[in-house]
């Protein structure tokens, strides 16, 4: 039973790496920090990340709703935070999206 779930997990991870969603190097680093004394490190960090991201996304949605005018500075700040934490987790694709978003902010591209 356990072996199956391990294999499933390994497969899932591999596909995330292959599709560019997850940065193998960074995620592996996080896994290496986990040990007997801290068996749930990765889980804790990822949980924190989800919680943090949910909050950030909410803030971003709110900021986007205030359309006239769009507060690009605020959006940029949120994106900076989001990008930062995505980086630490190894959420590669998300980080790239953040970078793109920030570019739009910089150029004042509301449509983007």
């Amino acid at each position: 039973m356990e072996r199956n779930s391990h294999r499933q997990l390994a497969n899932m991870k591999k596909s995330l790496f292959d599709q560019g969603y997850l940065d193998q190097e960074q995620f592996t680093q996080l896994e290496e920090l986990q040990d007997e004394a801290n068996p749930n490190f990765v889980e804790e960090v990822v949980t924190l990340y989800y919680r943090d991201s949910a909050r950030l996304i909410q803030n971003i949605e709110q900021a986007l709703a205030e359309k006239n005018p769009l507060d690009f500075t605020k959006l940029d700040n949120y994106m900076h935070q989001f990008k930062g934490s995505s980086c630490s987790i190894g959420a590669k694709k998300l980080k790239n999206e953040c970078t793109q978003f920030r570019e739009y902010c910089r150029t004042g591209n509301g449509e983007g």
């Binding site: 960074q26 680093q29 996080l30 290496e32 920090l33 040990d35 801290n38 490190f41 804790e44 960090v45 924190l48 990340y49 943090d52 900076h80 935070q81 990008k83 930062g84 934490s85 980086c87 630490s88 987790i89 190894g90």
Partner: protein, 205 residues
């Protein structure tokens, strides 16, 4: 007093909870004692220095140790933080008479060369690009060793004799330099060999 601490104590400053968690784990894995705070002002508080006090403790020349409630051997801080940035924190530390010998390391997710040189010129020991890796944390050791040695010898005899072992350590550390270290560091090394607490002359800014 300092001899009791066989472990180095690092103060990590970052407004991001996730980054704090990761850096804490990285440091603990390397057997350092870690304290994390989420802002520059809290960091200064922890170091026993208040934002508006630069030369606050001249009266305490009798017992200089009470400058710091807790002994910290190195400060590692994020650059981008709301309020007081990592650069501001670095400046405050280097401007403080009691803390100017404290090694400070800056981290940033953004690779901006002008930012990096500014920090190094201000006295940062290293500049790490995020995400910080274990290999980066390993680079901290020589800086910590240097401070510790300085303090231990100082406790025994408060003289300039310690300069020779000190310089040996410093040159050893310099030979392990990463590319990010600027040559300008060599210019300010003499300051670091000066005994910490005998420098009671007012440095006005």
């Amino acid at each position: 007093m300092a001899a009791e601490e066989s472990r180095f104590h690092v103060l990590a400053v970052d407004d991001s909870l996730i980054d704090r968690k990761v850096i804490e784990r990285l440091l603990k894995t390397s057997s350092y004692q870690v304290t994390t705070v989420d802002s520059g002002s809290k960091a200064l508080e922890f170091l026993g220095l208040h934002e508006n006090d630069r030369i606050a403790h001249n009266e305490t020349s009798v017992s200089p140790k009470i400058h710091q409630e807790v002994e910290v051997n190195l400060v590692i801080t994020d650059y981008c933080m709301p309020g007081m940035s990592g650069y501001d924190l670095l400046k405050k530390i280097k401007e403080s008479s009691s803390l100017k010998n404290m090694p400070v390391v800056i981290m940033s997710s953004e690779n901006v060369p002008s930012r990096i040189s500014r920090c190094l010129e201000e006295g940062a020991e290293e500049f790490f690009l995020k995400p910080v890796r274990l290999s980066d944390v390993n680079k901290l050791r020589p800086h910590l060793m240097r401070t510790k040695c300085c303090k231990n010898i100082q406790n025994q005899e408060n003289q300039e004799n310690k300069e020779s072992p000190e310089i040996q350590l410093h040159t050893a550390a310099q030979s392990n330099n990463s590319n990010k270290r600027k040559a300008i560091d060599e210019g300010i090394s003499p300051d670091r060999t000066r005994p910490r607490y005998s420098d009671l002359t007012l440095v006005s800014n």
